[in-house]
Symmetry: C2
Subunit: 197 residues, 2 copies
DNA sequence: TCCTAACTTTACACGGTGTCAATTGACACG
DNA sequence: CGTGTCAATTGACACCGTGTAAAGTTAGGA
């Protein structure tokens, strides 16, 4: 969609990203973005159908910039399930801060904009697959704890690693990113790995 | 604030609660509430200064109705830290569904309405004290795991029990309320109790 | 020179919140 | 009986943010 003029389109996306990343999340207005680019608000609509559309495009732009979510695909260096779990959490912990602002904005649109909701859900579903893969790797190794079914364990891991939880722990509780990564790893091991070492 | 006419004021609060509880959260409009009560939208402003005010009053109304958050005060029947942790989680699991709708609405107002944000934060701070009390009870018993400081453990428990997590597990993952309560208890034990039995 | 595409300016519709002024209806008090 | 008061109504309006529309400008290319 929205043909041509890569330059302006990209300027818009990067302005949008920059504003979103500065943490304001949902309170970033179309006019803010336009002002930042140096064009009129109306001109935004020459490139994107509506605000949700722009927000979604911004997420794709992030992927493009940072290599995207293929970073979450399990590395083949992970031999054991435990290594795979650790690697996944570590990758996710690196990825989260990059999508935080956009995530918040998309999440806030959830109730009113089905397209935005779908876009975010898609991302979260992809992420869930990573969780599931790690849990299944544990199960394959027979190191998955007996308390939960693989599906339940996936539910838990997926929830544990949610954007909201990251936000709460880093913003409200003041955890550093390293704290987050380390503790999530240790929590996940404790929750899911049978032989607690 | 907002003197007099208990009757109408209460009608408003109960209509507000009812709409909020039906899960729409933030998309409940002033006009919806007014329509439900059978008065004009403007009349709402005779009783409440603004939407945030009404939402906050609704949370107090819930407390009044259901006995409120004193249910979260640790029962004195809990001898051990572990019992206390279990009891707290169980009480919280019963309380959560009652404040879900309002919580969502208040959470959505967070960015724009500082008063609403403060009201919700206050509640969450109260709840955090319950988390802390349970963790400190474990520490007193020397059954708190060594991996985390009491404060970190409180951060984790507090985050684990967040409204958003409850929402995700019940709404998105389809857990029953009993599933939620049981699994949260078992997760908390696994995360925080030193002697894993 | 003319066409096209990007962008501008100005204006407006819509939905939601919040304010205001004038009015109605009920009830109480002297 | 008249008067005051209080809740609620009606109708209008301001503000904000999103989105649409129409007409005009500017620059580049065939």
């Amino acid at each position: 969609m929205s043909s041509g003029s890569k330059s302006t389109r990209e300027k818009i996306l990067s302005a949008s990203l920059e504003l979103l990343e500065s943490g304001q999340g949902n309170s970033v207005r179309m006019s803010d973005i336009a002002a930042k680019v140096g064009i009129t608000r109306q001109a935004l609509y020459l490139h994107f159908r509506n605000r949700g559309d722009l927000l979604i495009a911004t997420t794709h732009y992030v992927d493009e910039l940072h290599g995207g979510d293929e970073r979450l695909i399990p590395s083949r260096t992970a031999k054991t399930g435990i290594e795979r779990l650790d690697a996944f959490i570590s990758a996710w912990a690196g990825f989260l801060p990059e999508i935080y602002g956009i995530g918040k904005a998309l999440l806030a649109l959830r109730d009113t904009d089905p397209e935005a909701a779908a876009a975010w859900d898609k991302r979260m579903q992809d992420m869930r697959e990573g969780c599931e893969a790690a849990i299944l790797a544990l199960a394959r190794d027979k190191t998955l704890i007996a308390d939960y079914s693989p599906e339940q364990a996936t539910d838990i891991l997926w929830t544990l690693l949610s954007l909201r939880n990251w936000e709460q722990l880093t913003v409200e509780c003041g955890w550093s990113r390293a704290d987050y990564a380390d503790h999530m790893q240790s929590m996940a091991r404790r929750l899911f790995v049978a032989e607690v070492h």
